[in-house]
């Protein structure tokens, strides 16, 4: 099993996440897609760590995990507050700000 497959898998996950962010309407789903992108980056880091024979990449993926958790907490708090005010989590409904 060559590690290249993992890189391709990670690239596919990243693309799915990026497309998801662009086409989905629900803020929470959009946010889950961002998390998928972060995890694709994690998989890439760990794979390269193995290819390069250094531990750096694995340590870096720890940091990305922690950042992702912090983002979840902040993001869900923001989405929650907007849902409580509007009863909707659709990014299309958030349209007061335009010229």
């Amino acid at each position: 099993m060559t590690p290249t497959y993992y890189l391709v898998l990670a690239a596919a996950l990243f693309t799915i996440g990026a497309v998801g962010v662009l086409v989905r309407r629900n803020a929470i789903v959009v946010f889950m897609c961002v998390e998928l992108m972060l995890n694709a980056a994690n998989l890439t880091l760990v794979t390269f760590s193995r290819i390069n024979g250094t531990l750096d990449g694995q340590i870096m993926s720890f940091f990305v995990m922690v950042v992702a958790a912090a983002e979840v907490v902040i993001g869900l708090a923001i989405i929650m507050s907007i849902y409580r005010s509007r009863r909707s989590a659709s990014v299309d409904d958030a349209n007061l700000l335009k010229y």
């Binding site: 995990m65 922690v66 979840v72 708090a77």
Partner: protein, 124 residues
């Protein structure tokens, strides 16, 4: 800046144009070939054959949510303990490494203290 230099970008430009054309063609073909028979049943959420009841945002106790947040943060921060545990008993680390982990945990405890003072930890 010679012509070959710019020509090397024409491949990129060609690829971009091709990408746009392919997706336009795919969507156009889809539009031409598909049948259109909209019905309200098709718009509902798929729930394994059952009709969905209510909307997706069920009421629940807000405490779960704050607890889940606290758990997510503390559980995930603990991944830093693992690499630390591998090296802390090596020569040159010892007290300093323990002190640094103490600072790290203290910063986390700070967040917990804040949550405690704000009454988050009291289950009403």
């Amino acid at each position: 800046m010679g012509t070959t230099y710019l020509a090397s970008y024409s491949t990129l430009g060609f690829l971009l144009v091709l990408g746009v054309l392919v997706s336009i063609a795919a969507f156009a073909a889809n539009r031409l070939l598909r049948t259109q028979a909209p019905s309200p049943a098709k718009q509902t959420t798929y729930e394994c054959g059952l009709d969905p009841v209510g909307d997706g945002w069920a009421q629940m106790q807000i405490r779960y949510y704050v607890y889940a947040f606290l758990y997510a943060l503390f559980a995930v921060e603990s991944v830093f303990l693992f690499p630390w545990a591998v090296v802390y008993d090596r020569p040159g680390f010892g007290v300093t490494a323990a002190a640094e982990m103490g600072v790290f945990v203290a910063v986390l405890a700070l967040g917990l203290a804040y949550a405690w003072r704000k009454g988050v930890l009291r289950w009403l």
